[in-house]
């Protein structure tokens, strides 16, 4: 798994960047979500994988017993996922607003303010 996951992450990154580079606003959001996902996995994998043992101290112990997963990347991940969600929802609403106002989801139509004026 330790050898395979880096490749999966690479594939996710490639897919996300390719989607971000699209002209379509919708695909941009998909790309952003995928990129967030890839980054989370990246952090997770960098912090080493531990099969089984979660970072929880058993009812009978006072300290955690090996093997237990590194809690630090997990804490980072939790924060990252939640903030990523905030960004995603914001962009999703933004695209809706942009479509309502300008009637387009093509990013190239938004390259300059002047061009947007012309659409009216």
């Amino acid at each position: 798994m330790e050898l395979i996951l880096p490749f999966i992450i690479g594939i996710l990154y490639s897919a996300s960047i390719y989607l971000i580079l699209h002209r379509h606003f919708f695909k941009l959001i998909l790309g952003l979500i995928l990129s967030g996902l890839a980054t989370n996995l990246f952090l997770f994998v960098i912090g080493r994988l531990t099969r089984g043992g979660s970072a929880i101290i058993g009812p009978d112990e006072n300290v955690a017993v090996e093997p237990f997963a590194d809690p630090v990347p997990q804490a980072l991940l939790l924060t990252a996922i939640v903030i990523g969600f905030g960004i995603q929802s914001f962009t999703i609403v933004l695209i809706k607003r942009v479509y309502q106002s300008f009637g387009t989801t093509d990013l190239d139509d938004m390259s300059t303010t002047d061009q947007i004026e012309e659409h009216h």
């Binding site: 990154y13 919708f26 995928l34 996995l41 080493r48 101290i57 939790l78 914001f90």
Partner: protein
């Protein structure tokens, strides 16, 4: 001297205010200043003529060896007297020329600023201060040329002059710094004694090239001469003062000033003689191709500047003598002729030589000034110009390998000067005409007095050369030669070769004047040549810069998000590759392949699910399907977290993924279907960028995982979560206890996002209102 400069700057900036208070009488204080400085300088004259060199030191930036150091010797005094004396007359003249102009105050501001800067330049005793004043003259010249700012040609000419002299100024700064390094001092008086040290220094050649660039651009030497005729867009007082008598001579002054320091070498001599010679001939030639009075004067000025540079290049005692005499003579007659041209333009409304005739009746005093100046320019006995011309011929005819070439150059320009002098001094005014050009207004005192004074000075200096001029010019020439020099100016040298050549010049000059029209008709044949001329080159460069800047901006800032992203990603890839290229850690996969055998079946299924989901995502045309597929990828990631001991993360991921899908479906169901919008070639480019980025990230993880992770945090939290914070779920404890403030920050981010979303959803744009 410091006070004089300071007073100049103060008065300059007070000029607009004074104009408001005093109206047209603003010329009184403006002319008083240069006149009082002129008188002050005269009081210093006896000391300088006695051979003294006066200095005055004020600290400016002593730690950098830059001081406000003033230095007065013969050469500085000659220029300073010229600047203030001529300045006084110009201030008066400008008051008459621009009478009633609403911006007269501003004009005086610029003009006084220039005069003070120019004065500072010739009085400066520190080469860095020379540079500062030098740049000030360029800037004030820019403002003055562009004084009629509502005319496009005026603005372009001003910009051209600024760019050419400004670029030269930059070169000069480099050159002066190198000179300071070579000579070990920035102080002029010290440098003047270290000529041998400087010329033998390794930095001599680069310093020379840069300083010459500065001097040549300022003094309109070939191939930088083209800005000067264009600068004639300025009001005539400016043309007369800056672009004939003073500023354009700053380059000559600098060369003269530095002659004892840098002169005497082959590089110096040949460059100056060559460039000066070409400029002399070219200026004289071009002068015959124009009928605009100011254009003719501008080109003859270029020619005269070329002569001055050539003389400086020759560098012998007679050449230096000729140079200072010719410099003074030229300033006097050329300044007069410019003022005369301004008068004619002002009174008749035209400057075209072919339309002007018979003005002597209506403009009596101007006509007299023109005649006097013309005779001096032609080099007639007993004018000062005659002495200048004799000395020029003598200096070129000295024993040297180039004597005939040098003589030919000065002879040719002398011939053209005679022709121009006849045309301007005689043709416009005194040639009999049945139909004199009508005047719009009669001659005015303020307009004809300055040229008459200047022209008479040319006559008085010629008649009495020994009285005041000779000692001054002698000291000036000494400043350049660096040794004591016996110096006699006499009007009459007897019948000799030079006199004969002078007469020949006259005769041939008259011939040129007679056949000027035929010469003019050749003008069109030169047009093709101009295409390759420096003026055209300048235009092309300027245009090229504009186009280039527009293109670069359009490329870098094109407004397309994806090109920005592509650039960022590419840069990141390059940085990583650069860091890993040479001595970065090497990837060794060989001994880790056995890890593959620990792979479990359900893990493989999970991974295959992610990959196939991505494949479907790219094939899908429907928005809803894409959203569902994104859900699959997210849930798979959540499962991965569960498998590797992160139940909290997995729970959050599941929750968030569900919420995202819900929001997507709720909000985006009204959008249009997908279209493939990108070009095929662009798509391949983006595929390449994306794949490379993925590969780089994979490589980075693999490299990182090759080394053991030494995290003391894991052990610390494992030890203390329960004992200190009384929680058994370590991740939870970190979030709400150990790093609680981070979590607070996260909540704030979410709250801000929520507010933004609310705002966007609630915002109802009114009909017709622009978003």
């Amino acid at each position: 001297m410091f006070l004089a400069i300071l007073a100049g700057f103060l008065l300059a900036f007070a000029a607009p205010l004074l104009h408001r208070w005093l109206g047209k009488w603003v010329l009184v204080p403006m002319a008083t200043l240069p006149f009082s400085i002129f008188v002050y300088l005269l009081t210093l004259t006896p000391a300088v003529l006695g051979g003294d060199k006066l200095g005055e030191l004020h600290d400016w930036a002593p730690s950098l060896n830059i001081n406000l150091h003033f230095f007065l010797d013969g050469l500085s005094l000659l220029f300073a007297l010229l600047i203030t004396g001529f300045g006084t007359l110009i201030m008066l003249y400008a008051g008459g020329y621009l009478k009633g102009h609403p911006l007269l105050g501003r004009f005086y501001l610029y003009l006084t600023l220039f005069m003070t800067a120019m004065l500072g330049l010739v009085l400066a005793g520190n080469i860095i201060s020379i540079f500062v004043f030098w740049e000030l003259t360029s800037i004030s010249s820019y403002l003055l040329i562009g004084f009629n700012q509502d005319k496009e040609k005026s603005r372009n000419s001003a910009l051209q002059a600024l760019l050419v002299t400004g670029l030269g100024g930059l070169a000069l700064m480099g050159g002066l710094i190198l000179l300071g390094m070579a000579g070990g001092s920035y102080t002029l008086s010290e440098l003047l004694e270290r000529g041998d040290l400087v010329t033998n220094h390794a930095l001599y050649l680069p310093a020379l090239v840069l300083i010459l660039l500065g001097a040549f651009t300022k003094s309109a030497q070939f191939p930088f001469h083209f800005w000067l005729p264009n600068a004639m867009e300025a009001p005539t007082p400016v043309s007369a003062y800056l672009h004939s008598a003073t500023m354009v001579k700053a380059g000559v002054y600098l060369l003269a000033r530095l002659t004892p320091v840098m002169g005497g070498t082959d590089e110096w001599q040949y460059t100056l003689m060559l460039v000066g010679g070409i400029t002399t001939v070219l200026g004289a030639l071009l002068a015959t191709q124009h009928t605009d009075l100011k254009a003719i004067l501008a080109y003859t000025t270029i020619s005269a500047l070329g002569l001055l540079v050539t003389m400086t290049g020759i560098g012998t005692a007679p050449a230096m003598e000729a140079m200072v005499v010719f410099l003074l003579a030229h300033a006097l007659y050329k300044g007069t002729l410019f003022l005369v041209a301004g008068n004619v333009d002002h009174a008749t409304g035209t400057r075209d030589l072919t339309q002007l005739t018979g003005l002597s009746g209506s403009m009596r005093y101007t006509a007299i000034a023109a005649l006097l100046a013309g005779m001096s320019m032609a080099g007639l006995l007993p004018f000062f110009g005659f002495i200048g011309k004799e000395l020029l011929y003598e200096a070129t005819l000295e024993e040297s390998p180039f004597r005939w070439m040098l003589f030919a150059v000065s002879f040719f320009s002398g011939m053209v000067f005679v022709a121009v002098a006849i045309a301007l001094g005689f043709g416009v005014f005194w040639r009999r005409s049945t139909k004199p050009t009508p005047l719009q207004h009669p001659d005015k005192l303020l307009l004809y007095l300055p040229p008459v004074v200047l022209a008479s000075a040319g006559l008085v200096f010629g008649l009495l050369p020994g009285f005041f001029v000779t000692p001054l010019l002698r000291r000036a020439a000494e400043s350049m030669l660096g040794v004591e020099q016996v110096f006699e100016l006499a009007l009459w040298h007897g019948f000799n070769l030079v006199l004969g050549l002078s007469l020949l010049t006259m005769a041939l000059g008259y011939v040129v004047y007679r056949y000027a029209n035929r010469l003019l008709s050749y003008a069109s044949r030169f047009n093709k040549l101009y295409l390759f001329g420096p003026a055209n080159l300048y235009q092309l460069t300027l245009k090229g810069f504009l186009i280039g800047a527009t293109k670069i901006t359009a490329t870098i800032q094109n407004g397309y998000l994806r090109s920005y992203i592509a650039a960022i990603v590419t840069a990141q890839i390059s940085l990583v590759v650069l860091a890993l290229w040479d001595d970065g850690p090497r990837l060794e996969l060989g001994n880790r392949l056995h890890e593959l055998s620990q792979l479990r079946l359900y893990e493989v299924v999970l991974l295959l699910m992610i990959v196939s989901a991505l494949v479907f995502l790219f094939k899908s045309q429907s928005r809803l399907t894409s959203i569902a597929i994104m859900g699959i990828v997210g849930y798979s990631a959540a499962l991965l977290y569960i498998l590797f001991g992160a139940p909290d993360v997995a729970a959050t991921q599941l929750l968030i993924e569900t919420l995202t899908v819900v929001i997507f479906v709720l909000i985006l169901h009204k959008l249009p279907t997908f279209k493939y919008l990108s070009h095929a070639t662009e798509r391949y480019k983006y595929v390449l960028i994306s794949l490379t980025f993925g590969a780089v990230m994979t490589y980075v993880i693999l490299i990182v995982k090759q080394y053991p992770l030494d995290s003391q945090l894991k052990a610390y939290y494992g030890q203390n979560s329960y004992l200190l914070a009384h929680g058994r779920n370590i991740v939870n404890v970190i979030l709400v206890d150990f790093r609680a403030f981070d979590t607070l920050g996260e909540i704030v981010v979410l709250a801000v996002a929520a507010i933004g979303i609310m705002a966007m959803l609630k915002l109802r744009m009114q009909k017709g209102e622009k978003p």
